[in-house]
């Protein structure tokens, strides 16, 4: 289309210009032709009239000469001199034939007609053209045009007959007829007509015109009696006309046909028109060819451009002759190469993780998306355990190198997964196309086995563990994001439960779509007061009395009933919605604690803070204002933070903790032992309490290792001046062991399950009364 347009445009411009120029030329030629025809006709008529006059004169002289010669003929003279009428008559007839004169007359010197071939029976009359005779008498001879009795005009020549004295005049008349007109017409190139004008009457005496035009001429002359010269229309034709008097009432009408004069110009114009049309056609063809010659390379370039547009950089731009377009093609080809290499680089950057050289998250998602449609498979998510601590302890450079080493390791796995990718940070993903649950599981086991080999970096042996989340498609989802989230949850679950790996299907009981709508629901839940706080009592193992309680969030879901925090808190943390929940929670807790305090139940209530809460700059001010608002002693509020929550931004977290501590609020390290934090690190924090993770506490009596860890932790914590709380004390034997081990506080089902706030006061009263007797019993 572009080509065609270009062609058309070139053709139109070229041909249009040519047509313009040619029209100008044709117009000018036509105009000048018209002028030339007019002037040429006038000139021709003028020249023709001169020629005509000269011809007539010449003719006259010739006739005179001939007549003179004839009159010199001895026998002629003799016959006339002898006055023998019969002889004279026959001799003039004979000599008239000789010279071609239609009329012969012999006139005596005194003007009496002696013989007349036209009217042989009337001799003796006077010669009718006295003027001719007079001028002949003075000039020796005379001639002129006269109309004779028969109605025809004659060219009459009067010459003397001398013997040797003038004995007579002989008049010879040459008829002016159509033949005469035709001959003169042929020589002059004009139409020659002889007319007689008498008043308004016009009679045509002779003409070179044909029959129809004769009548038309007479009509025209009658219509324009006075016009001596000018353009006269005879029928359809235009004639440049000149009238000249011949004698008295005789006129010769000389005419030049304009059409005839135009004829050569017409043919010139026709030729010119043919040349112009031919030129235009040739030009059109030429310009189309030219346009095609220009257009074809352009077309080729356009095709190349379209290929490039479609992302096909493989085909080189065709080599063209090195004219301007060829140069363009060359530059175009260079451009193609540059774009190809640049795109390759961009693609690499876009789809490759620069650190490990593995495909990145985008690539993984795209590939996963592509593969989801066909068949089944598994997505495996790997998160390196304790990577944040390694990064923190050994520096980012080492962390990066560790990731590179892990990347290498993952790149050499057998069986090779369809795709190995680093999603971000310490998280890797694997796509196992065609794998079923069993194959995915064996892959996970193989992967964990591979990772269990220590990695040596700069002479340091690093033990690397990972948690895996497995999501199977299409069972766990048909969408890449859903699958990855499922795998992520499974991975988090595996990490939390130290399972090594977990399946998304076993981790997420509820359908995936429910998780998706969770944020919106949570927001509504907050507005509708569907979140409720349950309190789990904490028992002072020394004083044997309830010293506090931990506030635990529950969601009184209108459809699904009471949801434990594990079902929505990780999600709230992931999405950041926790930052909306925590202020509400803190307010409830402070308010409740103050109420209990007022009811003379002075217990310390703990609330959990997530990593996001710790980093929230408004946290401290909020806590301060809550305490002031409810008039609660800061020491009655305890904030629990997991060690991992401190790892994202340790400095800021530490600053906030320091401020909270300065307020007088108690701080506690939650889930101690599940993360990588050492006591050495905890020591630097302004915390009052250490909560040993339930993983160590539950069943501590059965595991000597756990017992050793708990015992040493208690000892060390006490050494550091920290209060120790054991979570997950489920049995009375646990409680006894803990009590013996010197643990300060215990919490768990062994004491009480979490309960609504209203129930706590009653439970505490019951417990005190029960255990007072039990204590008493001890």
């Amino acid at each position: 289309m572009v080509l065609r347009t270009l062609q058309r445009r070139i053709a139109v411009v070229f041909v249009g210009l040519l047509v313009l120029v040619m029209s100008l030329i044709v117009g000018l030629v036509t105009q000048s032709n018209r002028r030339m025809v007019a002037s040429e006709t006038a000139r021709e008529l003028e020249v023709g009239s001169h020629v005509f006059q000269r011809l007539v004169e010449q003719n006259q002289r010739q006739l005179e000469t001939a007549a003179t010669v004839l009159s010199g003929d001895f026998a002629f003279r003799e016959a006339i001199a002898t006055q023998d009428r019969a002889t004279v008559h026959s001799v003039i007839r004979n000599h008239g034939l000789r010279i071609g004169a239609q009329v012969m007359m012999v006139i005596s010197p005194d003007g009496v007609v002696m013989a007349d071939t036209q009217q042989p029976l009337k001799p003796g009359r006077a010669f009718q053209f006295v003027d001719l005779l007079t001028s002949a008498q003075s000039a020796g001879k005379s001639s002129g045009f006269r109309q004779m009795q028969d109605g025809f005009p004659y060219q009459i020549v009067l010459v003397p007959i001398s013997a040797p004295k003038l004995i007579a005049w002989v008049a010879m008349g040459f008829q002016v007829d159509d033949h005469w007109s035709a001959e003169l017409s042929e020589i002059t190139g004009l139409t020659v007509s002889v007319v007689r004008r008498q008043g308004n009457g016009v009679s045509l005496l002779a003409s070179s015109l044909d029959g129809a035009r004769r009548l038309a001429l007479v009509q025209a002359l009658k219509a324009a009696p006075d016009s001596v010269s000018g353009v006269l229309a005879i029928g359809q034709e235009q004639y440049q006309t000149l009238q000249m008097p011949m004698a008295q009432d005789l006129f010769v009408v000389l005419q030049r046909s304009l059409a005839q004069a135009q004829a050569p110009f017409k043919s010139l114009q026709t030729v010119l028109l043919i040349v112009v049309l031919g030129g235009v056609v040739l030009f059109a063809l030429g310009s189309v060819l030219l346009a095609r010659r220009i257009g074809q390379p352009v077309n080729a370039l356009a095709a190349s451009a379209r290929r490039i547009e479609d992302g096909d950089y493989s085909q080189a731009v065709p080599r063209l002759p090195l004219d301007e377009i060829g140069q363009l093609a060359l530059s175009f080809d260079h451009m193609r190469e540059r774009i190809a290499s640049r795109e390759e680089k961009i693609l690499r950057l876009a789809y490759e993780d620069t650190l490990t050289g593995l495909p990145n998250r985008t690539r993984f998602l795209e590939t996963l998306h592509e593969r989801l449609g066909s068949g089944s498979g598994a997505v495996v998510l790997l998160n390196i355990d304790r990577f944040a601590s390694i990064n923190h302890a050994l520096g980012n450079a080492v962390g990066d190198r560790l990731l590179v080493e892990i990347g290498k390791l993952l790149g050499q796995l057998t069986p090779t997964p369809t795709l190995v990718s680093r999603l971000w940070g310490d998280e890797f993903a694997f796509l196992l196309c065609g794998s079923d649950r069993a194959q995915a599981q064996s892959f996970a086991q193989m992967l964990l086995a591979t990772l269990s080999h220590p990695i040596t970096l700069e002479g340091q042996r690093l033990d690397v563990d990972g948690s895996l989340g497995l999501a199977l498609y299409p069972q766990d989802g048909k969408d890449a994001v859903v699958l990855l989230r499922g795998a992520d949850h499974a991975m988090l679950a595996a990490k939390r439960r130290r399972l090594g790996y977990d399946f998304a299907s076993s981790n997420a009981a509820q359908p995936v779509y429910e998780q998706l709508s969770l944020v919106g629901e949570m927001r509504e839940a907050l507005a509708r007061n569907e979140f409720v706080l349950y309190y789990q009592p904490k028992l002072d193992l020394v004083a044997r009395q309830v010293c506090g309680a931990e506030a635990l969030l529950r969601w009184q879901h209108p459809v699904r009933g009471l949801l434990p925090p594990a079902h929505f808190v990780p999600f709230a943390e992931q999405t950041g919605f926790i930052r909306e929940i925590t202020p509400w929670l803190l307010e409830r807790v402070v308010e409740q604690t103050a109420r209990w305090c007022a009811a003379d139940m002075e217990i310390t209530v703990s609330a959990n803070l997530s990593a996001l809460d710790i980093l929230n700059p408004a946290l401290v001010a909020h806590v301060r204002s809550l305490l002031a608002q409810h008039g609660l002693a800061p020491g009655l509020l305890c904030l629990e933070i997991t060690e991992s929550a401190l790892m994202d931004e340790p400095e800021l977290a530490l600053a906030h903790l320091t401020e909270l501590s300065a307020l007088g609020v108690k701080l506690s390290i939650d889930d101690y032992g599940s993360g990588q934090a050492s006591l050495g690190y905890v020591k630097t924090l302004p915390v009052n309490e250490l909560k040993i993770d339930q993983a160590f506490v539950t069943g501590v009596t059965q595991s000597s290792k756990n017992a050793a860890i708990v015992r040493s932790t208690i000892l060390l914590s006490h050494e550091l001046g920290l209060l120790v709380t054991a979570e997950g004390a489920e049995t009375t034997s646990d409680l006894s062991w803990l009590s013996e081990a010197g643990c300060d506080v215990a919490q768990g089902y062994g004491i009480a399950r979490p309960m609504p706030a209203d129930a706590l006061a009653g439970w505490v009263a019951d417990y005190v009364s029960q255990h007072a007797s039990a204590h008493g019993a001890l």
């Binding site: 010199g72 003279r77 001199a81 002898t82 001398s162 040797p164 004295k165």
Partner: protein, 214 residues
């Protein structure tokens, strides 16, 4: 040819004789403008006595493609010779009623002289030289004279008596009617002042001779 000097003598003799006893007329012819008129012919015809005729021979030459002389006056019955002095032929003719004749192409001298036996004016022409022109006036009297350049002529040996006087000229428009005059005897010449109305002579163009004189 031998007779030619003799003829001349014969012509001269009576003139000389007549002068001894006749009267003489001096005629002077002038044009209307008063100029002397050459080649005018003055003819005196006696009313009473018819003089005895004498057969005479006169010569009109063709020389240099001209007639010589231009005007000749002869008495009726005169023979005129037309000798050709040109190296080429001539073809002389006359269609005049007084004498119609034609001498077809000839050289030297025609075989016979032409007899002018009828009074009148004879115009001579040459058929092959249109400009050649001569006039012969044939009269019935021996008394006549032809004017020279000065317009004068003398007629001698006139017997006193009454005469018809006639003046003629080739270019004369109309001839004046004859009148009678009285010639008286005496020694002194009688003067006649005559007038003639003539048209100027317009000689026909004469082409120059060719290199080889033809």
């Amino acid at each position: 040819m031998r007779c030619f000097p003799l003829a001349r003598w014969l012509v001269l003799l009576p003139l000389v004789g007549a002068s001894a006893f006749g009267a003489t007329v001096d005629a002077s012819v002038r044009t209307s403008a008063g100029n002397p008129l050459e080649n005018a012919v003055v003819v005196l015809e006696p009313l009473s006595v018819a003089p005895a005729k004498r057969r005479r021979t006169v010569t009109i030459e063709q020389k240099d493609r001209e007639f010589l002389p231009y005007v000749t006056v002869v008495e009726t019955g005169t023979l005129v010779e037309f000798p050709n002095r040109d190296p080429f032929k001539h073809h002389i003719y006359s269609f005049s009623p007084a004498k119609v004749f034609e001498i077809k192409l000839y050289a030297d001298k025609p075989v016979l002289p032409v007899l002018f036996d009828k009074a009148g004016e004879v115009a001579l022409g040459c058929n092959i030289h249109d400009w050649m022109e001569a006039y012969v006036l044939v009269v019935n009297t021996p008394h006549f004279g032809k004017t020279g350049v000065n317009g004068n002529t003398t007629i001698r040996d006139l017997v006193p008596g009454r005469y018809h006087l006639r003046v003629w000229h080739p270019q004369q428009q109309t001839e004046a009617p004859q009148r009678e005059i009285e010639i008286v005897a005496g020694t002194a010449p009688q003067h006649l002042n005559l007038q003639a109305k003539v048209l100027p002579r317009t000689p026909k163009p004469k082409p120059p001779l060719d290199a080889d004189k033809y």
